[in-house]
Amino acid sequence: MRKISLDRLDALFAAISKAYTLYIPTDTKAGAKFEKWHGEERLSDALNTVRSPKDFFFPQTENLMDFKVEGKNIEVIDTRSECGDFAVFGVRACDVKSFDILDRVFLSDPVDSYYKNRREHGVIISLACTKPAETCFCHTFGIDAASPEGDVVCHKTEDALYMEARSEKGEKLMSAVSDITEDADSAAVDAQKKLIEDRLAKLPLAELSADAFGDGKTSEFFNAPEWSELSEACLGCGTCTFVCPTCQCYDIKDFNTGHGVKRFRCWDSCMYSDFTKMSAGQPRLTQLERFRQRFMHKLVYYPTNNDGLFSCVGCGRCVAKCPIHMNIVKVMKKLGGSKNG
């Protein structure tokens, strides 16, 4: 384990930036956001960013290919380019876990080469959460905010940042900062983990359980009468899906440039009336069906297809951002049986 004093964070960021494009969470008028580090940017103290770091691997919009049309000829232009090495600093345990969930979608056959390219070049530097929020419930899904996963795992104490490599990529990054970091024993980190564990146990959502859901529970929940009340006020806005680190649906569309076509991909939302619209129409006609889809996908369908892994990481973004304050916590409490009171 290595450490660096907090007043030397700039030196650390500068050293990382020599070999990687570095992104750190910074404060903006509308909450924290990952920004490229140029030297001026300050590390945010906020618990987490408004938008999730899935943007780094699965951006909201991206050009997939171009078609150039000349007379009767259509030329297909590959717009892909090899992505450079980049590092994302300050990713929380919940968000690190979200990459696993996305990987199972984008890296299984047929592999999504756009996603894979960025994933291979990205190094995740995670940071344990000293002050989990009242909306956090990562522990519900077995995620430990005190000991995140990641290529490099960091703990921030009052005066220092402790760093430990956990993968080959992480080792490589740590070797780039070996000159400015020093060896450290784990005492300070152990104490901090203990502090975080205590805090996690006191969170208002500490008792929330997902045990009622998971693999094979489709018929138990699909026709539950509670969906009607849960979904009654949903605006169908899709805010929950866009801020969610694990929502992975997209649409592919063509943009007519006048002398060709730009084929792009953009995030889509199961909450939208035109989601997966086909010639026969939208398969889910009511907001109840769309709303149910989002939560069944997180709590039942995804685990059914992925060895029981839930596709919610309990980051609490939808809890904080839904304009009508309906969210997965309320769904789990309503449907989750006696376990959730």
Binding site: Q60, K131, E134, R199, E232, C237, S269, V319, P323
Partner: protein, 330 residues
């Protein structure tokens, strides 16, 4: 703190349910925390007792919910309307969006609704929020209790409240207020005084944060089209996400034009925006221009009024004058 207590609303709702005046109640449902209140329908006294809340976080405007709710059955719906909500209510009636006969409207006075994000700016881990004598106290996970001036926690739409007067109701709980002389155009004036480049930079900075979730549109009582052009794959302008920052501005400008003269300035768009984009400033610019060009006009002040932008009188401003003024501002 709100002038009328929760019990008054609950008792009134129970009375109207039991005497058959209404068969369901649109109200605010209790959440996990003090601030995460959800709009919903109550059908019985028991449901009201256990889940109904009324307080400083009941900002949601129910007028738009009436469009769908009244279409669901024959019975009447009880709705609670704050003063600003009554303007949206009237505007929707003007546009024939719901059947007035199917609604029983109870006016409730409003002392301004709090914006939880203002508390979250300076306090982490909010466990509870309570209020006494104009002071709001948040109990937090890490910094104990934090106290705020109530006024500092009001969103712009409440600190610059345009009216405490209810312009529509069947019955009023408590006393009615007056149309207020608010400072709601002050920010717009600041923008008007900027150079065109400064103004462009301002809006680019704000709108570039937009994630195109469409929450602003979906909550807007003036946006009740059955199929929005931006959701219609056949419209040619449908987009689920911005292809570039130009499209982003298109969405907002088209929307602002579409609601011009119909936007009552209820402020719901800015309230729901997850990216804190001050959308109300776009709408207020239109309102201010309409006031200046055609004389003061408040959408929703009365049912059936014709907005100046869809009306014609011989006193109307000449288009050339508007163009000239625009050029001066550029």
């Amino acid at each position: 703190m709100q002038e009328i207590k929760r019990e008054v609303l609950v008792n009134k709702a129970k009375e109207l349910l039991s005497d058959g005046t209404v068969d369901r109640v649109l109200g605010w449902k209790r959440g996990e925390f003090d601030y995460d209140v959800t709009p919903g329908v109550f059908r019985s006294a028991e449901e009201l007792d256990s889940g109904f809340v009324w307080g400083d976080f009941c900002g949601a405007n129910f007028s738009k919910y009436l469009v769908k709710e009244t279409a669901k059955g024959e019975g009447r719906v009880l709705v609670f309307l704050k003063p600003c909500d009554t303007y949206s209510f009237n505007q929707l009636l003007t546009e024939h969006r719901f059947d007035r006969e199917k609604v029983y409207a109870l006016g409730v006075p409003c002392n301004g609704m709090l914006d939880i994000s203002r508390i979250k700016e300076s306090a982490e881990g909010i466990v509870s929020v309570c209020e006494e004598d104009g002071k709001v106290t948040a109990d937090t996970l890490y910094d104990g209790k934090k106290t705020f001036d109530r006024d500092a926690l009001l969103p712009d739409r409440c600190s610059n409240c345009k009216s405490k007067k209810h312009v529509a109701y069947d019955e009023l709980l408590g006393s009615d207020g007056e149309v207020l002389d608010s400072g709601r155009f002050d920010e717009v004036e600041k923008l008007e005084k900027m150079t065109a480049d400064e103004r462009f930079a301002f809006w680019q900075g704000e709108l570039s944060r937009c994630i195109r979730c469409n929450a602003c549109r979906d909550v807007c009582p003036a946006c009740t089209c059955e199929k929005c052009v931006f959701d219609n794959p056949d419209s040619g302008v449908e987009n689920k996400a911005a292809a570039d920052s130009f499209e982003e501005k298109m969405f907002h400008i088209i929307r602002a034009f579409h609601v011009a003269g119909r936007c009552t300035d209820c402020g719901e768009c800015s309230r729901v925006c997850p990216q804190h984009i001050p959308l109300h400033l776009l709408n207020r610019k239109f309102i201010k221009d309409i006031d200046e060009f055609y004389g003061e006009y408040q959408a929703g002040a009365e049912v059936g009024s014709r907005a100046p932008v869809v009306n014609y009188t011989t006193d109307d401003i000449e288009p050339s004058q508007a163009v000239e003024r625009g050029e001066q501002n550029a």
